[in-house]
Structures are given as C-alpha cells and as structure tokens.
C-alpha cells in the first residue's frame, strides 16, 4: 500500500493522439494507467462527458449503483477485499453530498478511495448554479485531502497525486472535484511524474521505519514481561497480507496471546488457541480481562477507539504500553504510551521479528493459566432450545451459518450492517484470513453492508459473499437490490430479523428505563416478496427447525438471496462493557452473574 513509485505509461497512453483528447478522456487514460479496473458510480449532468468517455472505451468497467452513498461503500469493500484503491464517480451537488457519509466512513476506517465528483463549469462556481454545491468545502473534513481541478494542465497530475495520497501512509479517501468545462475541453495527457506532494509522501514513506532504540526497548520489555498481550487492529490489514503473516510468526515465536479490534479481525486466525477474541465493548471476557490485567500491552495498528478503551483512566492500568502506528497523530492521542513505534506496522513487525531472533519463548504458564480461568467463563454463551418450533436465537443463527459455510469450503467474504447482528457476527463468525471481514467500524454506518457486499462480489465474482444484516440497517440502502439484480451478483443477505433496532433497544433497556422510544420497526416489508420483486430469491426461517434448510438452500442457490431469519426479539448482545466502565466490569447478561458494572452518567453520554 505504501508503494508510491510512479506508474509506467501503459499501452493506450502510447498509442493515443494527445492533441485530440478531452479532459474526460484524459481522466480515464490516467485511471487505466493507475490500474483502475472498476468504478462505482451514478451519472448526472455534470459528469455526462465522463460517462460518454466511459461508453467509448472498454478498459474500465462501471458499476451503476442506485445511490451515491452505496457507490462509496461498494468501493470501500472493493478496496478492503482486494487491497487496491476503490474508485467512485458521482455528479455535482446532490451526487457529491450523497457520497459524504461514505467518505467519512472510509476516513474513519482508513480505506484508500478516490471519489471523482462532477462540478458546474468553472465560470459558474459560486453562482448557486443548478446542482452546484461547495463540494471541496463540504468534504474537507470528510476526506484525507481534496482537490478542485481549475486548469486542464493540472488534471492528469492531480489524478495521479490523488491516488498516491489515498494509498500513502495511513490510507484514506481523496476527492477530486471536476468542473464540466475541464472534462469537456481539451486537456494534455502529461507523462507520469511525481508532484511535489508525491515527493514529500515518498520521503515520509522512506522514513517509515520505527527507530532502532524504540525496537530495542520493546524487545527488552517483551523479554521480561510476565503478562504480555498483542492488541492488534485494522492497520495490520491495511499494511497487506504480509503483515498478517508476520504477526502470526511473531506470536508463534513469543507465545504471547493476541487480541484484536473489530477492524483487525482476520489478521490473526480466530480459531487459533493463542487468539483471545475481540476486545472492547462487546469483546470476549478473556480478551478484556487480559487487556485489563496485562503487564505489557503491544498495540499494533490500532487507534484506541472509545469502543475499545472504555473508561480511559482505567484502561489497562498496570501495563507498560508500546504503540506501533503509521500515523503519528494516533500515538499518545488517548492513552499515553511508553514506547512509540512510528511507522508501517508490517515494517515494525519485521524489525521486531529480526530483533527477537532466536530468543526462546518466555515461560508464560502462569499467564496462560490465568487466561484459561477467564476463558472458562463463556461470555458468548447462549442456550438454544432445539425443539423444531423453538425461537431462533441470533447467536445460534450465526453459529450455524459459520458452520455450514465451513462445510461448503468456499472462500467467503462477510460484510455487515451496524448493530447487534454486527457484534454477534464478530463474536460467532470466525476468520482465518485478512481482507475477508468488511464492516463499518469507526463511523458505525447503518446501510453499509448491502452495498459493501456488492463491492466485494464485483471484486470476487466466484467467492461467496454474505451480508450479515439487521432488518433496520438493510432498509437503509435496500435500493441496491437493483444493482445486485442488474449485475447478477449472487450476494446472500442474511437478515437477523428481530423487528427492533436491536442495539438501540438494548441501550434503552440498560440506560433509559426500557422506554423503547422509536426503536420498534412498524410496517416491515415482506423480505421474501421484496427479494422476488428485485428478481432475486427470498427465504424465511421462522423457527429452529427451518434454520438449517434455509441456510443450506441459500448457500446452494447461485443467485442473490434474502434469507429472512426471524430471531428472538428481546435478545441482547453480551458481554458488554457499559460505556464509562472499566474492562474488568463487563455485564455478562441475564444468563450469567453480572459483574458490578459502573453505570454512570458519564457512561450514558459516551454511548
């Protein structure tokens, strides 16, 4: 991801006659040169020249979505599942403003994206012209960087620079606003050459190695720690599959336990005995207790999100803390650390492995015994009544989905919406490879999963792509069933339908006296008929007896499916660290003894 070398001119840049190209054609040539194969977008007046240029070529495929927000989420999942940069094309004004949610989502989760937005002609900018919006102004805090192309000569360099910025360092979304006169008029296809900003990025990338003394201090701490823990995050996924391999190697050599954030799932194999599961608000008991009790916390590619730390002053109170991150602004932001490892987390892992060398793994028997005692508390436990008429518990539905997917042996990508189902998926679906888990972590965007499944399926046409969803989130971008139908994407939408905005209801129960203000979904659609109306297949499981057959039928079907899984309506997601509480103050749920949880007013505000 950090390779910023100027790309080589490709075949079609050699054969064209640059004098006759308009801006739209130059744009597409540069995208091809940068290796772009797919663009997710929606046409409109200001981008018609680009759509015309798309029509006249066959190097770049365009996927027509039904809403610009979905274009960005699809591109995010495309990027996350392939390691490439996602590309979005939207029109001016409403097209661009509709994309904003997706851009912030990508910014929060560090997803490399380039969003091309149309703009009214340069002369009309600032005149409140039809479909004009101050797009660079609106998206300034929503992107890593943005551009307004003002002259034809700057078009090609800006597009190349935008990709370098999106991919370089901590990845993120970049927007290029393209006035219509720039895309209609003649523009030069300048040869690839690094711009000053690209040179600066290259310089930063070249220095992207943690300082040797910081590595030495980390190794020293690792050798003497009695209760060490690796706290791993999305940075490892962003660093590439190699970083995930290095993490596995370092964990093997040291014998240290590993926990992961929501964004980091898959970097370390979930079924591995050294894996303690996800930490944080709905994390595993052993992961949270180990975070609280460790004496050495090695944070790798994480940003100490409040959903992970809980009460900041009680976060891992007795540990020596090491933080590795490519973005120095993340270090010491929330939790002060003892050692800063500034740099790419893959490079950091490589340096740590080299410095560890053939050191023998320390004796951590006591620590592992302690972890085993925490593990004996089954925080994810639930009891499923197995009589055929019994109500399906949502955790069981995901567990069966996972087991039957395993039986199918297919390479599987899972996207989720946001809410209880997302947490249950993180808890009960296992990942052993990076880039297979696509979820909105930082922004928590309901409506992410369905378009994300579109993006993943476009990138991996032969893979199994499942959106684990809730009925409320599904309805937020339900129009994308049209995209799924148009491109015959065999996406599986697995809805855990409890007729509530479940996570909202859970918090209302916990913090607002069970006053379920507006969290019950009246007038839900018949999801089976909805699937059929979009040329797909609908299935429904009403009870335990129907569940396995529906999952098997869904997996066997070669087209898109909505599986409406009617689950227990009042089920809550546990364990839970109520906001404002420490990691050793988890609520374990009605089935288990509740720990003394500190529910405070401050905690209510943090929810």
């Amino acid at each position: 991801m950090t390779d910023l070398a100027a790309p080589k001119a490709d075949e079609h840049t050699k054969t064209l006659n640059p004098a006759t190209l308009n801006g739209a054609e130059v744009l597409l040539r540069v995208l091809s040169e940068l290796g772009v194969e797919v663009v997710f977008g929606y046409p409109g007046g200001a981008v018609l020249p680009i759509y015309d240029a798309l029509f006249k070529q066959d190097h770049i495929r365009h996927i027509l979505v039904r809403h610009e927000q979905a274009a960005v989420h699809a591109a995010e999942a495309y990027a996350r599942s392939t390691g490439k940069t996602g590309v979005v094309l939207v029109t001016s004004g409403p097209g661009a403003t509709n994309a904003v949610t997706g851009l912030v989502d990508a910014l929060m989760d560090s997803i490399p994206l380039v969003c091309l937005s149309g703009q009214v002609p340069t002369k009309l900018i600032g005149n409140d012209a039809f479909q004009e919006a101050d797009t660079t102004g609106i998206t300034r805090p929503a992107t890593k960087h943005n551009y307004l192309v003002r002259t034809p000569e700057t078009l090609a360099p800006i597009v190349r620079e935008a990709f370098a910025v999106a991919q370089g360092g901590r990845p993120g979304p970049v927007l290029i606003d393209l006035p219509k006169d720039i895309t209609v008029g003649k523009a030069p296809l300048t040869p690839p050459a690094p711009t000053p900003a690209m040179k600066r990025l290259q310089k930063i990338a070249a220095q992207n190695r943690p300082a040797q003394d910081a590595i030495a201090r980390t190794i020293e701490a690792m050798k003497t720690a009695k209760k060490p823990l690796f706290y791993t995050g999305g940075g490892i996924i962003n660093s590439g599959p190699h970083a995930a391999e290095l993490l596995r190697a370092l964990a093997r050599k040291t014998g240290f336990p590993v926990t992961s954030t929501l964004m980091g799932l898959g970097a370390f194999p979930s079924p591995d005995p050294q894996f303690l599961g996800m930490l944080g608000m709905h994390g595993a008991v052993e992961a949270n207790m180990a975070t609280h009790g460790c004496d050495l916390l090695i944070a790798l590619g994480v940003r100490f999100d409040d959903r992970v730390t809980g009460r900041v002053d009680a976060f891992s109170p007795n540990s020596f803390k090491v933080h590795a991150d490519i973005d120095p602004s993340q270090i010491d932001k929330i939790i002060p650390v003892d050692v800063r490892l500034e740099g790419d987390v893959g490079e950091t892992l490589e340096a740590l492995l080299a410095a560890w060398g053939e050191t023998e793994a320390p004796d951590l028997t006591q620590w592992w015994n302690q972890i085993a005692s925490w593990r004996s508390v089954d925080g994810f436990g639930f009891t499923q009544d197995m009589t055929p008429e019994a109500v399906i518990r949502p955790q069981y539905a995901i567990q069966r989905l996972y087991e039957l997917v395993q039986e199918s042996g297919r390479d599987t990508f899972v996207s989720t919406e946001v809410g209880q189902h997302q947490m249950w998926a993180a808890q009960h679906f296992q990942f052993d490879k990076p880039n297979r888990w696509l979820t909105s972590g930082g922004l928590g965007t309901m409506g992410y999963g369905l378009p994300a499944a579109v993006g993943a399926q476009v990138a991996h046409p032969d893979a199994l792509v499942i959106d684990i969803a809730g009925e409320a989130s599904t309805l937020m971008n339900i129009q994308e069933l049209g995209t799924i139908a148009q491109y015959r994407l065999p996406v599986k939408i697995f809805i855990l339908n409890n007729r509530y905005m479940g996570m909202v209801r859970q918090w209302q129960e916990l913090l607002h006296g069970s006053r379920y203000s507006q969290s019950y979904s009246e007038a839900l659609p018949d999801f089976v008929k909805l699937a059929e109306s979009f040329h797909g297949t609908g299935m429904r499981a009403r009870n335990v007896g129907e569940l396995d057959k529906v999952i098997r039928d869904m997996l066997a079907h070669d087209g898109p499916v909505i599986a409406d899984i009617c689950v227990a309506e009042g089920e809550n997601c546990y364990p839970m660290i109520p906001s404002g509480a420490a990691h050793n103050q988890m609520l374990l749920g009605p089935d288990q003894d509740s720990a003394a949880a500190g529910l405070t007013e401050e905690g209510m505000m943090l929810v």
Partner: protein, 185 residues
C-alpha cells in the same frame, strides 16, 4: 506510566506552519482546529515564498501537552503542509504583533495619550482635532499593556493582527528560495 505527558497543565504554544499557497489551505488549518475543538488565540498568515508558493501561518494556541502534541501531529498530516515547528518548544523566539489603536479624546486626556504613546514608541499615523490613530508593534503583552493604559483616555477602536513569530539564532525552520526583497509579483 508517562506522568509528564498526562499532566493537565494548560500551556500556550506558538506554532509555525509552512503550507502550500493553494485555495482552501487556510480553511484546512482552521477547520482542523474548529473540527477537533482546539483553541486558536491568534492566527496570522501571508505568503513568504513566491517561487515555491509557500505561506507561513503562525498560530497562538493553548492546551495540555498532549493536546499540543496532537495539534502538531494533525497539522503534519495535512497534505499541503511542508513543515510544522513549535517555537515555544524549540528554544527562544521573537514574537511580534501589530496593533492600530484609535483614541477619541480632548484636553488633558489627549496630552496624556500622546505621552503614553511616546513611551511605548507607538507611531501616530492619523490625527484630527479630536482623535489619534496609533500604530504599535511588539509582543502581545506590550500591546495589551498599551491598550490597558489607553482605556480611560478615550480608547475607541482597536485592530490587531495577531502574532507573527520566528526563532532566534541561525537555525532555519524550512529553507525558502525566494526572499521577499526580490519579489516582483
């Protein structure tokens, strides 16, 4: 752990930012401060290098050491930013502000105002029978003191630029290629 950094002491910091002279660059910096809730006590900006197209922004801000560190790291993340320097941290610096101060008065007060202006080396840049405009440069504290003394002598209007600052000694923050004296633009 790192106790020094968690101390909740609010400190003032003068931060210099060398940034590309492009449209929206200042908005990026200001938006960063407002969006993340950082304080701006004063902010000055002007082009300092026409050939490289660079502007220098001087921000007077305040916060805990952890917040100041965040401000610097966040500023460095901005793509058009070439260099960030914390003058408060990196040794001695000179900080100057320009103020234009209007006094409307007559009689004794008028004479007293002139006398104070002289002792502060403020220049009279406009005079009428009933008013003066003084121009004064110096540290923000000096200007504060001047305004305070003028308060009862007919002080009517104040315009201040905010602080421009530079490190003392031969250390160069970021090399410029085009000195303002050569400027032809």
């Amino acid at each position: 752990m790192s106790d020094s950094i968690t101390a909740d002491i609010i400190q003032n910091s003068v931060i210099s930012v060398l940034i590309e002279d492009e449209s929206g660059a200042l908005a990026r910096v200001v938006g960063l401060f407002s969006g993340r809730g950082y304080n701006i006590s004063s902010l000055t900006v002007a082009q300092v290098d026409a050939r490289q197209g660079l502007s220098r922004i001087t921000v007077l801000t305040s916060g805990t050491p952890m917040v100041i560190q965040q401000i610097k790291a966040q500023l460095k993340r901005l793509v058009p930013v070439h260099a960030v320097s914390d003058l408060t941290q990196e040794g001695a610096f000179v900080g100057r502000e320009l103020a234009l101060v209007k006094i409307v008065s007559s009689g004794e007060d008028r004479t007293e105002a002139l006398r104070i202006a002289e002792s502060f080396r403020a220049r009279r840049v406009d005079s009428t029978a009933t008013s003066f405009v003084f121009e004064l440069t110096g540290s923000p504290e000096k200007i504060d003191a001047f305004i305070e003394l003028m308060r009862n002598l007919g002080l009517a209007d104040v315009s201040r630029t905010g602080i421009a600052a530079i490190a003392r000694g031969p250390e160069v923050f970021a090399p410029l290629v085009f000195h303002p004296s050569e400027e032809t633009v």
